[in-house]
């Protein structure tokens, strides 16, 4: 603990009090259609968006994404597509998951990102280890920017949370964009609008 005391003592010498935190930057009101913007941004960074009006529509789309004998995990009870699966404790056993279907809390129009917390993931490794990721977000849950995103998150006490914006990707080789670096090769957002 010696270093801790030394570092803090040095920091205390340089402690100043005259600067206060600035107000947050509130983005100007967005006249644009939020959903249109979300679709443009997310598809621009390699994601896919399917606008749907019912759970059964999502189900049929998902069936089309899944080959025979491919392992899929669904964690959404409303979606009568595969029984929501209780996962074991061993994340390594998820390596052969071809498709994972999760709910997102909300999506952010300006970044195409979906907020997902560990309580929606079954296992925290799932959204990263699966080959294709499907996230369901209700259309009423689209917020304009990261500012509103953090207003919405507030003081939630998640254990782990992540914004997911599109599939895993890299452009490390001569700036050529390749989808599917280490995580999912595709990410599909189902935007659900129910009446």
């Amino acid at each position: 603990m010696e270093s801790r005391e030394r570092i803090l003592a040095q920091l205390k010498i340089h402690q100043r009090t005259n600067n206060v935190l600035p107000p947050l930057v509130v983005p100007p009101a967005q006249p644009l259609n939020l959903v249109d913007k979300l679709v443009t941004i997310l598809t621009g960074i390699g994601g896919q968006v399917a606008k749907v009006t019912s759970w059964s529509q999502i189900k049929s789309e998902l069936l089309g994404m899944l080959g025979p004998d491919e392992r899929a995990i669904n964690l959404i009870p409303e979606l009568e597509f595969l029984q929501p699966t209780p996962l074991g404790k061993e994340p390594h056993l998820l390596e052969n998951v071809r498709l994972a279907v999760l709910k997102g809390h909300f999506a952010v129009a300006e970044t195409g990102a979906v907020w997902v917390t560990s309580d929606l993931m079954g296992d925290r490794a799932l959204p990263f280890i699966c080959e294709r990721l499907a996230l369901v977000v209700e259309e009423k849950d689209v917020v304009p920017s990261m500012y509103e995103a953090y207003e919405r998150i507030g003081s939630a006490s998640y254990e782990f949370g992540t914004f997911i914006a599109g599939p895993s990707k890299t452009a490390d080789i001569e700036q050529s964009l390749v989808l599917g670096a280490h995580g999912p090769k595709s990410m599909t957002m189902f935007l659900l609008k129910t009446n």
Binding site: I7, Q15, P22, P28, G166, K169, T170, G183
Partner: protein
């Protein structure tokens, strides 16, 4: 096959000498220059989509100033909250202590093979070399970092570690280390090969090291941003997670992430956000999580009015992409973990003698300052470092003599006019005196034609008419 370890060259060459080596291949320099300028252009396009961009920069700069002013309090708040979340906190005064702590945790876990996602702090501390000599096999999992690691190099750019590598060379490297077919240099194919290879490392490593982009004092959580998902995959498949961070990574409140995440990736690559912005608040059940808080000169830097603002840096790399010197000299010419303008003001704070050349590796054009998302006065600091370095006598003999002569000539109008006359006469009558390799200004440049008369003479003549 034994893994090569990233090593920083130990030669004593300065920036100019290294840049000269880089500049031997003109076509390659042009390609490097244009690639980085392309990324700078994408940054502009992304920044211009937000009407509030300048307000965001100002707010980010002020939040970071508040952090620097109150780091004593924020660090303790962060520590308290992280410990409440079950995270073990370690404090390291310098690079060596950081490496010892990390090694101790690895030994305690009884593993010898680990995965690591991108962390400039661990580069700064030379963690890989430290662990390598102690029998720990570290696999860098960011694709660009893996490429330079296999090649035995350090990253040449903090966001784009292998920006100086051509795909054909990467194809060759992969063929040697991963057995990919010779001659295949398709980026899609090579990325696929690296994915398959690194997946095995993810599956077999019980310990993962990550960097930290932001640490929130209010909640004790850390945020790690990647496009590849390598940090997440590594951590979620491991029993032990070690996150290493410089003490300046603190931000006061969670809602401030709304400002920093809007700025970071737009500034870095022009993307709206990275694919993953992961908030680690508690370890997964059964997992151990450690955070190593590293000082390594930062608390001392805080006491310097001239140079403390450099600690606001969020490591986006925008200053490198825009820098005319970086683009044409390459990241390795800076011989420090962080290249470019920001590296040139951070490095002398650690070792003024060793890095005395870096603040001179700039035209002081100010482009770095203009793109910095947290408004660090980078080019002013470069200028101030030059003065400190000259005053403390760390400037090389040739440069010192040159500056002395310039001082003599420029401070005496008569001498200046006479020197100008001689110079013009020489350039016009004996051009080879300046157009030769002895003259550093002649390298990669055509010397201009000398005017017949000076501005001073022209002006006097005009007044007479």
């Amino acid at each position: 096959m034994s893994e090569l370890n990233a090593t920083v060259s130990t030669s004593n060459k300065d920036h100019a000498e290294r840049a000269e080596v880089f500049n031997k291949d003109e076509a390659r320099v042009n390609w490097h220059d244009q690639t980085l300028w392309f990324i700078r252009s994408k940054r502009d396009k992304a920044a211009h989509t937000l009407a509030e961009w300048e307000l965001l920069r100002e707010a980010a700069s002020q939040i970071k100033l508040n952090v620097l002013d109150n780091l004593f309090l924020y660090l303790q708040e962060f520590e308290r909250n992280a410990m409440t979340n079950g995270i073990k906190i370690h404090w390291a005064a310098d690079a060596n202590e950081h490496n010892e702590i990390v090694h101790g945790i690895i030994k305690g876990a009884g593993v010898s093979h680990i995965v690591k996602s991108k962390s400039m702090l661990t580069e700064e501390c030379h963690l890989n070399e430290y662990l390598h000599t102690r029998g720990i096999d570290v696999v860098d999992t960011d694709l660009g970092e893996r490429i330079v690691q296999l090649a035995g190099e350090a990253p040449s750019h903090i966001v784009l570690p292998c920006i100086h590598w051509k795909k054909e060379e990467i194809g060759e490297l992969f063929s040697k280390h991963m057995g990919t077919p010779k001659g295949n240099s398709d980026p899609q194919f090579l990325t696929g090969a690296a994915r398959a290879n690194l997946r095995q490392h993810f599956m077999s490593s019980r310990l993962a090291i990550t960097g930290v982009n932001f640490a929130v004092a209010e909640t004790g959580e850390i945020v790690v941003c990647t496009n590849e998902g390598n940090a997440d995959l590594g951590v979620q498949l491991a029993d032990v997670h070690i996150a290493c961070m410089g003490i300046e990574k603190i931000i006061p409140k969670r809602k401030h992430l709304g400002i920093f995440l809007r700025l970071l990736t737009r500034s870095a690559t022009g993307q709206p956000i990275t694919t993953y912005s992961s908030h680690f608040r508690k370890a997964r059940s059964g997992q151990e999580m450690h955070i190593v808080l590293v000082d390594n000169g930062r608390s001392e830097r805080l006491g310097s009015d001239d140079f403390r603002n450099a600690l606001k840096c969020i490591r986006c790399g925008a200053c490198m992409n825009t820098c005319p010197v970086y683009r044409r000299s390459g990241g390795h010419s800076y011989h420090y973990a962080i290249a470019g303008p920001i590296g040139s003001i951070l490095a002398p704070g650690l070792d003024m003698k060793k890095y005395a050349d870096l603040p001179f590796a700039s035209t002081l054009c100010g482009s770095c300052t203009n793109v910095c998302p947290v408004k660090i006065d980078i080019h002013d600091q470069l200028y101030k470092w030059r003065q400190v370095i000259v005053q403390d006598g760390y400037v090389a003999g040739g440069k010192k003599t040159g500056i002395g002569i310039m001082d003599f000539v420029f401070s005496k109008p008569g001498v200046y006019r006479f020197a100008g006359k001689v110079g013009r006469w020489m350039m016009n009558h004996f051009p080879f005196v300046v157009n030769n390799k002895m003259n550093p200004w002649y390298k990669q440049r055509e010397m201009p034609v000398a005017p017949k008369q000076s501005f001073h003479d022209w002006y006097k003549e005009r007044q007479r008419k």
